[in-house]
């Protein structure tokens, strides 16, 4: 224990511990005992979903550059987070964050929803019920108490075999909602898995400015449960740790906590969003160093070397992904909403006042034409 807290013995380290890791940066297995017990097909599916995530992401950014889509937060480099969704049963719930959309794709949600969302079309958030996935919010950390509340509800409802997995960034851990959400989880002993994607920056602010603690994982101790520090560029480590956390959420053994706070140490290779210039706050050398840890390449090497993947398989994965993404873009661009739809779903039915306002808008459109709304004000 270093000098900082000599008088107080607590198990949290002042320096980050070694992160849990299964594959090294060259794709070699470094912890046999932690290798996930997956079929070859399941391994390939994880790889395919990570590639789908990257393709969706890259397409989203290029659509934004072409003016066909709005701002989006890229997860380029962070694709290993996809493995958390693979560790869930279909009946488990996913409460993702805007940047961890790879989990949604892994659950089978059509990339169309993501493109719609980024294009500024509300139906992007109308995720079909069968996916047990909550549409990600924009205000930071607000989904964390929701995830805990869902887990509390499951207890009330007597659901014994459902885990609730919630994603957030390192910046989110500074908000009161993080504390309140995890505190409730510990106090109510909910079946919760919390995943912090520590990409080391909240927009420009580095992790060292979010907290004085060495890791996010160690914060779990204060809530009465376990935290685990994981190499977040290693999809197999992410899978193994999440699978174990999900198992504990459902049936902890003697001495195990039901809740787990997982910290994935990872890196976003791009900007915070398409309106961000990351060169203002981090060096090219730093980015380069992390490019060497590319999670997709790492998994690919492992799968090739263990005979689970070859050129042919990769090509067919890529072809399928390309078709899926192309179709999704076409579908998203084709979908348009009627202006009046903004009045619907404010309440379960249109109030008289909203009906009046909707009529007012319709009359204005009738009188002035939609062009008046396009060029309505010159600045």
């Amino acid at each position: 224990m270093s000098g900082k807290h000599e008088l107080f013995q607590y198990p949290a380290p002042d320096d980050p511990p070694d992160a849990v890791r299964v594959l090294d940066e060259n794709g070699n297995v470094v912890a046999d005992e932690l290798l996930p017990n997956l079929t070859d097909e399941e391994f390939r599916k994880l790889y395919a979903d990570m590639r789908l995530t990257r393709r969706t992401d890259r397409r989203g950014v290029s659509l934004q550059r072409q003016g066909r889509s709005g701002t989006l937060a890229s997860c380029y480099g962070q694709e290993a987070h996809v493995a958390t969704a693979h560790a869930l049963a279909e009946t488990d719930w996913l409460i993702p964050c805007y940047r961890e959309f790879g989990t949604m794709l892994a659950r089978g949600i059509d990339p169309k929803y993501l493109f719609l969302h980024w294009m500024g079309k509300e139906p992007g958030d109308h995720i079909p019920a069968e996916y047990n996935t909550v549409a990600p919010p924009t205000p930071i950390a607000t989904q964390i108490p929701h995830a805990t509340g869902m887990a509390m509800a499951a207890q009330l409802l007597g659901w014994e075999d459902t885990a609730f997995l919630c994603h957030f960034g390192d910046g989110a851990t500074s908000e009161g909602d993080f504390h309140e959400g995890l505190n409730f989880a510990g106090a109510f002993d909910t079946p919760s898995v919390f995943v912090c994607n520590n990409n080391q920056y909240a927009i420009s602010v580095p992790f060292s400015r979010q907290t004085g603690s060495a890791t996010v994982a160690q914060k779990a101790i204060a809530y009465g449960f376990d935290g685990v520090y994981v190499d977040g560029m290693d999809p197999l480590a992410v899978y193994t740790v999440t699978e174990e956390a999900v198992r504990r959420a459902k049936s902890p053994r003697e001495g195990e906590s039901r809740q787990t706070l997982i910290e994935l140490l990872l890196y976003r290779l791009g900007g915070h969003s398409t309106s961000d210039d990351p060169t203002k706050y981090r060096s090219a050398a730093e980015v380069e160093q992390w490019e060497q840890k590319d999670p997709i390449r790492r998994l690919e090497v492992f799968l090739r070397e263990t005979g689970r993947l070859d050129d042919e398989a990769i090509e067919s994965i890529e072809n399928a992904n390309e078709a899926l993404v192309d179709d999704a873009v076409v579908a998203a661009e084709a979908l348009h909403q009627e202006p009046e739809s903004m009045f619907e779903h404010v309440f379960h039915e249109l109030t008289p006042e909203l009906r009046r306002q909707a009529d007012e808008l319709a009359a204005l459109r009738e009188q002035y034409g939609d062009e008046a709304f396009d060029v309505g004000w010159r600045f």
Binding site: G120, P139, A172, G176, A202, Y281, M342, Q357, G376, F379
Partner: protein
């Protein structure tokens, strides 16, 4: 306001005010998410970190309640924090600190502890931003006693009002209409100067109808007035300070023209137009020739970008509102 001027955008004028005040008074500090190394997501704090260093230009953790709460605490020892909340839609986690503490400390300690803080936040829509980035919920703030609320509509006003806000011995929320952050330039004095809080500005004299507005809506309102030239003589009043309201200017203008339209991009129900209309009705009922008309955003959560143009008040809607009031009875 003689002397040197620069041609600045509104966001540059905000930046100029911060430079001036930090140079003048070493107790002024700037704090918030990404305000330092990154110079603010809208570059409002450009150059400050290089000039004044990390102790006075403080990149904070991502925690709005923490930002406003620590700003209040700092102010108790004589520091004057100018805290940035990255978007108005993210002010809500800090409302407890703002309402329960910033707004009440003076009153409950009879002036012993006074939160002399400024909270800056870009607000309003029209720039196709993601959900929660377009809010215009200033009526929430004006409802609460003890917090002043300021909204500039021009670069020169932005600078003078922000400097006045920083020197103001009360907590101030300073809302910056981001739609017009960069859309035009005007001459802004290089030296520091103040525009007093609580004073509306008559942007255009007229005799037929008074239109009251603020922030980004000022420009389409002036455009509507211009398009109606020769037909209706429109007076346009930019409120600039929403709390406390300049009731004298409102009443004077309303009694002069006898017809009133209020334009705001905020939702209609419970919006500030209701307060303004009632003030005029209570005070000047017998001067009125027509009911007061509201031209506002709809009572729906701010829509996603695809539909925002149908939410935003535009010139056509303002013209429509003015004509309706002028045609009455």
């Amino acid at each position: 306001m003689a002397g040197e001027t620069d041609r600045l955008t509104l966001v540059e004028a905000v930046n100029s005010a911060l430079h001036n005040e930090m140079a003048r008074d070493e107790h002024v500090v700037v704090m918030g998410e990404d305000v330092g190394v990154n110079e603010g997501v809208f570059r409002a704090t450009a150059g400050l970190y290089d000039e004044f260093g990390e102790q006075r230009v403080i990149d904070t953790p991502l925690a709005e309640s923490g930002i406003v709460g620590t700003a209040i605490g700092m102010s108790f020892l004589g520091i004057r924090p100018v805290a940035e909340i990255q978007f108005m839609g993210f002010l809500y986690p800090a409302l407890d600190q703002l309402f329960s503490h910033a707004a009440r400390f003076r009153s409950r300690t009879r002036g012993r502890f006074v939160p002399e803080i400024v909270i800056r936040a870009p607000y309003g829509g029209g720039i196709h931003s993601p959900e929660s980035h377009s809010e215009s919920t200033e009526a929430l703030l004006t409802h609460y006693p003890g917090v002043k609320v300021v909204v500039p509509s021009t670069p020169a006003d932005a600078k003078g009002l922000l400097i006045a806000s920083i020197r103001e011995p009360d907590p101030v929320v300073f809302l910056e209409p981001k739609k017009i952050y960069r859309s035009f330039r005007e001459a802004v004095p290089t030296e520091p100067y103040e525009i007093p809080l609580g004073e509306a500005s008559v942007r255009r004299d007229g005799t037929d109808v008074s239109v009251f507005t603020w922030g980004a809506m000022t420009r389409p309102t002036l455009e509507a007035a211009r398009q109606l030239e020769g037909e209706v003589d429109v007076e346009v009043v930019d409120l600039r300070t929403l709390s406390p309201l300049d009731r004298v200017t409102l009443i004077t203008s309303a009694e002069k023209t006898g017809r009133v339209v209020v334009v705001h991009e905020a939702h209609r129900t419970g919006g500030l137009a209701g307060e303004i209309a009632t003030t005029i009705q209570e005070h000047s009922f017998l001067y009125l020739e027509a009911p007061v008309k509201r031209v506002t955003g709809w009572d729906v959560p701010y829509p996603f970008p695809e539909l925002e143009k149908y939410y935003m008040v535009n010139v056509a809607r303002i013209i429509d509102g003015i004509k309706e009031v002028v045609a009455f009875p």
